[in-house]
Amino acid sequence: MADKKVDCIGLYCPVPIAQAAEAIRAVGEGDTVTILADDPGVESDFPNWCRVTGHELVSMAKTDEGYEIVIRKRSRGG
């Protein structure tokens, strides 16, 4: 399973979800995308983004810099 990293440190809404959407489109089904972000809005945005798009929120961890979010691309469409 491949993993794609997206660094959104210092970037604000809506750029992190836009970059996540782009990265998810680029990876294969079942692959993951790891997003680093420090806009506090992502804490609520990514669970909701996943709920609507159907991708799986694997984990969301607080780091020194902000948040590390792992999303797995769902197996159909996306």
Partner: protein, 175 residues
């Protein structure tokens, strides 16, 4: 919750304040990021958001309205065009405008904190499939020639187009 049918959103941007335009484009990009079909319908001073920066060039004679009732209407339209430059660089915030100083301050603050500006949001949205529609009546009313609009604008239309999009949309917002 996951629905295979593509969701749709239509936004009407009716006002020319920078903050409204930023909110509109932010929501548009967000919608596109969530897999929605997004249409931004710009009307009246909302058109300024999808114009190239600066004062629009004088319309060619064939672009002038067919019926010009008032003597001197052409000069009046030119004067108005001069007072109403377009593009994110010339849009004032709804508060703390300070005759143009406010927008420069806001642009500076946003750039320093690496927030996306209007130009970047429109480019990003367009690359994600957001459709931009310009209202033809407002273009005429404000004397904005079509070629002074940004290349991302793909359609010129009226209220029926907006309503047709709106009845099919899951989200409709008037900004």
């Amino acid at each position: 919750m996951v629905n295979e049918k593509k969701r749709k959103m239509v936004l009407v941007l009716c006002a020319g304040e920078l903050d409204r335009a930023l909110a509109c484009m932010n929501i548009a990009v967000g919608g596109a990021s969530m897999g929605m079909d997004v249409t931004v319908f710009c009307t009246f001073f909302g058109l300024n958001a999808i114009r190239k920066d600066g004062v629009a060039p004088a319309p060619r004679p064939e672009e002038e309205p067919k019926r010009v009732g008032l003597f001197g209407a052409r000069a009046l339209r030119r004067a108005f065009a001069r007072l109403n430059p377009g593009g994110g660089k010339y849009m004032n915030p709804s508060r703390f405008s300070f005759w143009g100083l406010g927008r420069r301050l806001m642009a500076r603050l946003m750039r320093d904190s690496r927030m996306a500006n209007l130009d970047e949001l429109i480019k990003l949205g367009s690359s994600m499939g957001v459709k931009f529609i310009a209202c033809t009546t407002s273009l005429e009313a404000l004397g904005i020639p079509r070629d002074s609009l940004r290349p991302e604008v793909e359609k010129f239309a009226g209220v029926a187009t907006f309503l047709a999009e709106a009845v099919e949309s899951d989200v409709q917002l008037f900004i």
